[in-house]
Assembly symmetry: C2
Homo-oligomer: 162 residues x 2
DNA sequence: ACCTACCGGTTGACGTGTCAATGATGCTAA
DNA sequence: TTAGCATCATTGACACGTCAACCGGTAGGT
């Protein structure tokens, strides 16, 4: 897949066309993310981070999860999660308590306020995804977007492993 | 382009497939952005914000620009730019002075340290873009990525205008 | 002349993210 | 037993972004 055409071989830097597409792509996806963020914020007073945490907890057994389990599930560093949980706890969306089974473990619990906030956020959030992403693209483009994401992810993973 | 197929008409929420692609897409592009950020950071001790500012100033007449002109050029809010320039000024990358021509205007100047930092950052940064983006995709996928970005941008602009 | 309204830019408060350091606790090997 | 060592989680310092308030000055309308 890499360097498939002769013209690409041996070149070190992107062409002007590639660079333009890169800029369009990275800036537009960033703008898309922040638009989603602000939609979620005004619809529900939640950030996408809050949403990710609440989603994971909602689907968990007993609406509770060990902290590092949660971090792994949503792909965050523990430090980030810890800061975020602190803010969410202040707002009453979750609670933390000592974990009975694992020493030194922290159990994160969904509060009723958290569950309700999540419930109220879901439909507007999904609707926003549809408006801003699904409806913006043709079915072919959606498939292509999935393939592009997969290819980029593979590259990121390959370079991380190395 | 929107609601092109009968099956899509009238539905409010994304399907499970669309949602999966959405998540892959938005998370992967976000990861790509932060990987680029950290590459730039370790190669050059610059953030992508620093890079954008330095790039604009490098290309400007006299390597200087009015503050709000600069903000418009790179598409930032004035407040964001002001904060960022404060940090960059502390590090000696730029300088600010009263603008001679426009009363109440601030002129942003590139320092020699800033120019050198930018010069040293360019090649590694472009190389990283090639490795992480261009080389990860087939030529067709790059074209598709450009078209997807264009379509998403059009949607964002349309909804912002409304 | 005066009041108002905008304009360019800064500031403060706060949410968010990363990195490195710190505690607290168990596991393992000399 | 004890000296490391990894693991789980938190913390502090700092960079970055947004929002709203603010400040100083210019321009228009009366």
């Amino acid at each position: 897949m890499t360097d498939a055409t002769p013209a690409r071989r041996g070149r070190q830097l992107p062409t002007a066309d590639e660079l333009r597409i890169w800029r369009d792509f990275i800036e537009t996806t960033a703008a898309l993310g922040s638009r989603l963020e602000s939609r979620l914020q005004s619809d529900s007073s939640l950030s996408t981070g809050d949403y990710a945490v609440l989603l994971a907890l909602s689907e968990a057994q007993g609406q509770a999860m060990r902290s590092s389990e949660l971090a792994a599930h949503i792909g965050w560093e523990r430090s980030r999660l810890s800061h975020h949980l602190g803010r969410m706890e202040r707002r009453g969306l979750i609670r933390r308590q000592e974990c009975a089974t694992v020493p030194r473990g922290a159990e994160v619990l969904l509060t009723t306020a958290g569950a309700e906030a999540f419930k109220g956020a879901t439909v507007p959030h999904l609707r926003a995804i549809r408006e801003l992403f699904v409806d913006a693209l043709t079915p072919d483009q959606i498939v292509a977007a999935g393939e592009i994401a997969t290819a980029l992810r593979a590259r990121l993973d390959a370079l991380r492993a190395e």
